[in-house]
């Protein structure tokens, strides 16, 4: 009986459950928006370009789809993170700040490093999507390190 679980939730535990449920809904909405963006760009892509190779002139998308996807990107990359910041506590906010700082430093340092390595003939020229990836993965790695250390 020592290991018997408490069947009735305390007021604090109930509030924690509500917080966790809200977080799961938030993550679910983010995944749906991300999936919709990926699905739309994949299904309606009319060009031969690629974000990775930097041949932007060959990218082509129906204007209406482009407007819709850009609106979803505003929601996904601006509205949702801002709303998320308002919902999380100070500990998680601190981890998020570390993540964003890591992303910012990755771009600030990554671009000139990439440029000089290009000048030295070791890399292709820097392009916008590569810089974006630097920021994204810099942010992601910094956030993970902050979470692991905490």
């Amino acid at each position: 009986m020592i290991l018997a679980k408490k069947s009735v939730l305390g007021p604090g535990e109930a509030r924690t459950r509500t917080r966790q449920r809200r977080q799961m809904i938030f993550l679910g909405v983010s995944v749906v928006i991300g999936g919709t963006i990926g699905g739309l760009t994949g299904a309606f892509d009319q060009g031969d370009g690629s974000l990775f190779s930097g041949d932007w002139d060959k990218l082509k998308l129906n204007p209406a789809i482009a407007v819709l996807v850009s609106a979803l990107l505003v929601i996904g990359f601006i509205a949702l993170p801002l709303r998320g910041f308002g919902q999380i506590d100070e500990f998680k906010r601190e981890n998020n700040f570390i993540g964003f700082t890591g992303g910012c430093l990755a771009v600030l340092a990554g671009f000139p490093i990439w440029a000089v390595l290009y000048a030295g003939g070791m890399l292709p020229p820097p392009h916008a999507f590569g810089i974006w990836l630097l920021g994204f993965f810099g942010m992601f790695a910094s956030y993970l390190i902050a979470r692991i250390r905490a």
Binding site: G10, P11, G12, E13, R15, T16, D89, E90, F91, K92
Partner: protein
């Protein structure tokens, strides 16, 4: 910073989730404070002190002597 949060919580037979809910923070935040990996802000420290009905300095110890 050292603190007595884990002891105070255990005295009341509260789980981390219970304390987190009462403080309106995540369970991870409570865990990080208990293990000394996160120092709470002043407003949260006051909230903790009010919840346990104790002065802040009886819960948190920064290792400095007056």
């Amino acid at each position: 910073m050292k603190n007595r949060l884990k002891v105070l919580r255990a005295e009341r037979d509260w789980s981390q989730a219970e304390l987190a809910g009462r403080l309106d923070v995540s369970r991870q935040a409570v865990n990080a404070i208990e293990t000394g990996k996160h120092d709470p802000s002043l407003p949260l420290a006051f909230k903790i002190a009010r919840l346990f009905d104790m002065p802040i300095e009886d819960i948190f110890d920064d290792g400095e002597t007056a």
